[in-house]
């Protein structure tokens, strides 16, 4: 499905990463695997450092921390926020919405909209699209898009398929109207028939958590996982990304009348280095224009990885300059999304540590 937005822009980005850093070299001893094979994997996939929350830390804690830093620095005023969108797959509770909890803890005004959006790695683009749609309303002048996940709390430490790559974090993106006559193109696709490729089987109402769902099972390849843990069919997800994402981006650029060479940066979701290199090769994009280093420094934090690419790789430049960028997210749902926009001249573009 295609979308076009006019006169909208991102005006600031703040990424919150937990101070707690884990190292793959230390963690690989937890897996029932020879160290030599794990080291080869580290080299190819880019696993190294990752940031994860301490026990008990929730999505709302990261979001409140980040927004308070913006209030303190006078980069954002409480009363300016007309809508708070939270994209997460690891909400604090079934109910109420975590965005309402954030509003309450921060003492934001009542005359606003709070909305949780359950999306995974495609969720940054999907959240931006929702923000742009809200800005069509006269009463909405500033939208705060929060992307946040603490998926490490749902990953089995004995599952080499997913544990070494998971990172936690939050991002706060300020979205406003643009005085320039800017045009933003976006595309999104969904395929719920493949939803089981990335899922947490137990813990909802379909299969409530119980001692049985908490029991670690041998799931093959020397991995142990419970039904309460996140499951990822790595091969299925890899093939999904390689098959679906290049045509999505190609069609988006064709619709916008923009050639691949005219895009300054392809800022993609960051599952691992190998997957992104293969994606870049397929689209004949030089690696320098498609950064792939987030997973090695922070881990894969779902929909937070695209703003992390912005803040980590283009921190100063996005304050001074403007670039034509193509964003692309892909993952659970399954869902895949892409957006072409002009990004830059940001009021802020920061990374803060949550302690």
């Amino acid at each position: 499905m295609n979308f076009t937005f006019r006169r909208k822009r991102i005006s600031g980005v703040l990424v919150v990463v937990p101070a707690n850093e884990r190292s793959f070299a230390e963690e690989m001893r937890n897996f029932n695997f020879p160290e030599s094979r794990s080291l080869k994997l580290k080299e190819v996939m880019g696993y190294d450092k990752r940031r994860v929350v301490e026990p008990g830390v929730c999505v709302s804690d990261l979001a409140v921390f980040g927004l308070e830093r913006l209030f303190e620095q006078k980069l954002l005023k409480r009363e300016e926020i007309d809508a708070l969108l939270l994209v997460t797959q690891t909400a604090d509770h079934f109910m109420p919405a975590t965005s309402s909890l954030i509003q309450g803890r921060l003492g934001l005004k009542q005359d606003m909209l709070c909305l949780d959006i359950n999306q995974a790695c495609a969720g940054f683009v999907i959240g931006l699209m929702q923000a742009f749609m809200l800005l069509e309303q006269e009463s909405v002048n500033k939208v705060v898009l929060v992307n946040a996940d603490v998926l490490s709390r749902k990953a089995s430490p004995k599952d080499r398929n997913i544990y070494p790559l998971i990172g936690d974090g939050a991002s706060i993106t300020i979205v406003e109207r643009d005085v320039a006559d800017s045009v933003i193109h976006a595309s999104v696709k969904m395929d719920g028939s493949r939803a089981s490729a990335l899922t947490i089987p137990a813990g909802g109402l379909r299969l409530p958590s119980s001692p049985e769902t908490a029991r670690l099972e041998d799931v093959g390849d020397n991995n142990l996982r419970a039904k309460d843990h996140v499951f990822m069919d790595g091969s299925a997800i890899f093939n999904f990304v390689q098959t679906e994402v290049p045509p999505l981006i190609k069609d988006l650029l064709a619709r916008a009348g923009v050639a691949f060479e005219e895009v300054d940066y392809f800022l993609c979701h960051q599952p691992n280095r190998f997957m992104l290199e293969k994606l870049a090769d397929k689209m004949k994009v030089p690696y320098a224009r498609m950064p792939n280093n987030v997973v090695e420094h922070f881990g894969n934090s779902g929909s937070v990885t695209i703003p992390t690419v912005m803040a980590y790789n283009l921190r100063e430049r996005l304050l001074r300059e403007q670039f034509q960028v193509c964003l692309a997210g892909f993952g659970g749902g399954l869902a895949w999304s892409a957006m072409l926009l002009t990004l830059g001249k940001l009021a802020f573009n920061q990374i803060k540590e949550y302690k």
Binding site: R37, D221, F238, N239, Q242, T243, M275, E277, K282
Partner: protein, 76 residues
């Protein structure tokens, strides 16, 4: 330049790949081994095997791996 079998032995030295006709069914390569193998094959032949080709059936035995390499531009 290394041979395919030499590269396989570097990844899983405990197995005799010459004696198997189905590395996947015999449990000699898992999905992470395939990723490691593709990375090594790419470097050895100076190619980039397409992501959509990284499926188990292309890694069943030496013949399928060599066919995969040829398809992706390697000169064997």
């Amino acid at each position: 330049m290394k041979s395919v079998i030499e590269i396989l032995k570097e990844i899983r030295p405990e197995f005799d790949f010459a004696a198997s006709s189905d590395f996947i069914a015999d449990g000699m390569l898992d999905s992470f081994d395939m990723v490691t193998l593709v990375s090594a094959l790419d470097k050895n032949w100076g190619i980039s095997i397409q992501g959509t080709d990284i499926v188990p059936e292309n890694f069943q035995n030496l013949q399928t791996i060599e066919a995969l390499l040829r398809k992706n531009g390697a000169r064997l």
